[in-house]
C-alpha cells in the first residue's frame, strides 16, 4: 500500500526539486549538511529545515485531503492562531498541560467541523466557506488573548516547540507522528478511496452510496486538527501567542506545498508524503536564502522562480512534449492526455 499515487515517474519532480534545492544550499553553504549533537539534541541546517518546516508540513497534511476532495481550507492560519492563543492563555492561567492540549485541539476540531458543515451540508464553495473563518478566526484569537501578546513560562508546553525526543526536535517528531497517523487513517481504511472518489466526482460517489457529507466533514475536521497542532508548535516555540501574526499567510504556503507535491486542485489522487516533501522544498529555500546572506527580499522571488519550475514540470501541456515512461500519465493532471488541444495546436 503506497502513500502516494502509483508510478515512480509521478514523484520525480518533487524529489528532484528537493534534491536540487538542497544541492544549491550545499554549494552556497558547504556546512549545510553538517549535523552535530549538542545537549542531547541534533543541530544543523538540515535539522533546522525540518524543524522550521514542521508547521507548514502539518498544515499541508491536512490540506492535502481537503484539496483531494476538490476543496481548499483558507482558515488554517487563523486556526493556528486560535489554538496558540488558547494554549498560551490557559497555560498562563495555570491549567495543566493535558487540559491545555485538549482545549487547543478541541478548538481546531470545532473550527474544522464548522468549515465542514458549511461545505458539506450548506454546500457553500470551500474557498468562500473557509474564508469566513480565515477572517473571523484571527478575531476569535484576539478575543482569547484580549488583544495582547500572551507569553508564558511553562517548560512543559515549551517542550513541544523546543524540546527533543531521542535527539530529534519535537516539531519534527510531531509531524512524523501526524503523518503516520493520517496515512494509517486514510490508507488502512477505505477513507482514502472515498476522499478521492468524492473529489473526482461527487455525484457519482453519492450515487454509489458513498456518504459524501461525512467524508467532507471528516477531511475539514482533520485539517483543523492538523492546524491546531501546528499552532501549538509555533506558540510553544516562541513561548507566547501573537494572535495577529501566528500562522499568518501560512495557508498559502500549505496550499503551495500540496500543489508542489502533485495533488491537483481539481481533486482526486493525493499523496501525503509528497505534500510534506513540498513543504520541505519551500522551507529549504527559505533557509538557504537566509544562510546565503542574500537579502530576505530575494527570498520571495527565488521561491516563486523555483516553484514555477516545479509546477512547469507537472504541467500536462509541457509533459506531452517530454519523453515519459510507457504507461505514465502527466503528473498532477486529472484528464488523460487525450488531445493536446491548447499546447499541441500551436506551431
Amino acid at each position: 500500500m503506497t502513500l502516494s499515487a502509483p508510478g515512480p515517474a509521478r514523484n520525480l519532480p518533487q524529489y528532484g526539486a528537493l534534491f536540487a534545492v538542497l544541492l544549491a544550499n550545499w554549494l552556497l553553504f558547504p556546512d549545510f549538511f553538517a549535523i552535530r549533537l549538542q545537549d542531547g539534541r541534533l543541530f544543523g541546517s538540515l535539522i533546522d529545515v525540518l524543524n522550521r518546516g514542521a508547521p507548514v508540513a502539518l498544515l499541508a497534511i491536512g490540506m492535502t485531503m481537503v484539496i483531494a476532495t476538490r476543496g481548499v481550507d483558507l482558515s488554517v492560519g487563523a486556526v493556528m492562531a486560535i489554538s496558540g492563543a488558547i494554549a498560551a492563555t490557559m497555560t498562563g492561567a495555570g491549567w495543566s498541560l493535558p487540559a491545555v492540549l485538549a482545549a487547543s485541539l478541541a478548538a481546531g476540531l470545532l473550527c474544522g467541523l464548522w468549515n465542514g458543515l458549511l461545505v458539506a451540508v450548506l454546500r457553500i464553495q470551500p474557498i468562500i466557506a473557509t474564508l469566513i473563518l480565515m477572517v473571523a478566526g484571527r478575531g476569535i484569537a484576539q478575543l482569547v488573548t484580549e488583544g495582547q501578546i500572551v507569553t508564558f513560562t511553562s517548560p512543559a508546553l515549551a517542550f513541544i516547540g523546543s524540546g527533543s525526543f531521542l535527539t530529534v526536535p519535537m516539531p519534527v517528531v510531531l509531524t512524523i507522528v501526524v503523518l503516520a497517523v493520517t496515512a494509517l487513517l486514510v490508507r488502512a481504511t477505505a477513507l482514502g478511496l472515498m476522499i478521492e472518489a468524492v473529489g473526482i466526482n461527487r455525484l457519482s460517489s453519492a450515487g454509489a452510496g458513498v456518504n459524501t457529507p461525512v467524508v467532507l466533514v471528516a477531511v475539514y475536521v482533520w485539517c483543523g486538527l492538523c492546524a491546531a497542532v501546528a499552532g501549538l508548535i509555533v506558540t510553544a516555540d516562541i513561548r507566547g501567542a501573537d494572535a495577529n501574526n501566528a500562522g499568518l499567510w501560512l495557508e498559502l504556503d500549505a496550499i503551495l506545498a500540496v500543489v508542489v507535491g502533485g495533488t491537483s486542485l481539481l481533486g482526486g489522487r493525493f499523496g501525503l508524503v509528497l505534500s510534506v516533501v513540498g513543504a520541505l522544498i519551500i522551507q529549504s529555500m527559505n533557509t538557504g536564502i537566509l544562510l546565503s546572506g542574500f537579502k530576505p527580499e530575494f527570498n520571495l522571488i527565488v521561491k516563486a522562480g523555483v516553484l514555477l519550475v516545479v509546477l512547469l514540470l507537472q504541467s500536462p501541456t509541457l509533459t506531452l512534449f517530454l519523453p515519459r515512461p510507457k504507461g505514465a500519465r502527466p503528473i498532477g493532471t486529472v484528464k488523460p492526455p487525450v488531445a493536446p488541444t491548447s499546447g499541441g495546436a500551436k506551431p
Partner: protein, 531 residues
Amino acid sequence: MTASTAPPSASSSGPLLAIRGLSKAFLGVQALDGVDFTLRHGEIHALLGENGAGKSTLIKTLTGVYLRDGGTVALEGREIAPRGVEEAQRLHIGTVYQEVNLLPNLSVAENLFLGRQPMRWGLVDRGAMRRRARAVLQPYGLSIDVTAPLGRFSVATQQIVAIARAVDMSAKVLILDEPTASLDAQEVAVLFKVMRTLRSRGIGIVFVTHFLDQVYEVCDSITVLRNGRLVGERRTADLPRLDLVAMMLGRELEAAAHRIDLGPAEVDSRPPLASFKGFGKSRSVEPFDLDIRPGEVVALAGLLGSGRTETVRLVFGMDRADRGEATVDGQAVRLKGPRDAVRLGFGFCPEDRKKEGIVGELSVRENIILALQARQGWLKPIPRHRQEEIADRFIRLLDIRTPDAERPIQLLSGGNQQKALLARWLATEPRLLILDEPTRGIDVGAHAEIIRLIERLCADGMALLVVSSELEEIVAYSRRVVVLRDRRHVAELRGGEVSVERIVAAIASETPNAIASETPVTAGSGAEVRQ
C-alpha cells in the same frame, strides 16, 4: 420593417424561413444530414425528435452558434448565414431557451433593453426605459413591476419577458426551445396564449417540446427529425398521434416485432419486492403506483422527457419524492438518498454515465468495488487482494475490455464503462437493479452482451427496472412495460400484451388509461385526492 407590420397571412409570398439540405458534422458524426425545414408566416411549427435527432443542432445552426457545412437558409427569400446569436437577432431570428438566458439580478426593464437602453444626454434614460418596458409587456397581459429584479418572478414570467425582448428586437422567427419543460399547467396556458397572439401578428414560431399534448394543442405543423435526417413534415390536423409517434421512433407499425415467449404472465401472485404507492414529485413526475417482483424485468417506455428517468431517479432516491410511499418487503421505507437505496439492496446505472456514474480518474478496480465498499463503510476496507479478485471476476464475467484492472476507467470505451458500472452493482448482489438507458452510446457488440446479461440476471432472480428508448429491446426482455407520456404513467402492458405496437399506441393515446390493461398503474388523478 418590424414584425408587427408584417401581414398576418403572407404565406402567398413564400415561406418566412426556408432551410434546404442543411448539413452539419462534428468530428465525423453527421448531426444533420440534408435536412429541410419550412416555416411560414403566422405559424407555430413543432420541431420534434428523440435524442440525437438533430433538433438542437438545427436550432444552433439557425442561431449562428454553429456554422453549417452545407445547405441553404433563406429568410423571406434572402440567404442568411448568421455567425452568432447577436447576428441572428439582427437578422430577425430570436431564441428563448428553457433556461432563460437573461440576467436575474437586473430589473425586468433592464433585461428588456439590455444593450439598447434608451439614452438621453449620454446617460440611460431610466424613466423612458420603464415606460417603454411597460408598453412592451402590455400586449402579453403582463402588468408586473418592471423595476423589480427579473429573478424574483416565476420561470413562466421570465420566459415571457425573454419572448417580449426577442419580439421587440424585431424578431420574425421566434425559436422556443423547450419553454414548457419546467412550467405547470396554468403557466403553460399563459405561454400558449402569448404564442397565439404572436402567431396572429405574423410571427413564425419554432416550438421544440417533448409534450405531445402541447403539440396538438398549439401547433399548426410538425417537422420530425430522426438521427439527423428529416422524417417528414405534416399539418398537425392531418397527422394522427400514432403516426407521429411512429415517425419519431422510426417504427414501421405493420412490421410486427417478434418477441421471445416468456410464458404466461401469472407471476403477479407473488408479493412484490418493492412497492410504490402514489409516489411522485411535483414538476418532475406525476404520482404513480409501481410494484416490482423478484426475478421480473419491468421496463419503462415513453418518449424523451416523458418522465421515465424521473421515475427511476425517485425510486433510487437520487431525487427525493415529495409524495407517496415506498415499501420494500412489505416494510415502509424512506428513500432520502442513494445511500438508503443501496442499503435496501438497490443499484442504479444512470443515463449520464460520465456525470453520475463513473469516477473517471479512479481505476476500473476501484470503480467496481466502490458501491460495495460504501455499503460496508470506510472502517471495513475490502482487502486489496479481495478487491482484485472481485474486479478480475467481473472483468472476465462481463468481458470488460481493459488491459488490466488498474486502468483509469475514463480511458475505457463507453460500453466497457457501462459494463464496469454494472459490475459495481453486481458486486453488491443487489435485489433490484435499475438501468437507465443501459445500451445508449454503446457499440453493437457490447449492446447485445448487455441485453444477454439483463436476461441472465433476471433468470437469477434479480428484479430489474429498465428505462430504454429501444422498443425492440424492451419487448425482447420485459414481461411488464409501464408506458409514460407527459410525466405520467399512462398504461401498463403485461405478458402477451407487450409488443412494440401496443407500446407505441399507448404513447400516442390521448387520454390516460385508454390502452391500459384492466389494472392500470396510472394515478394521475390521485394527486388531488391525496392532498
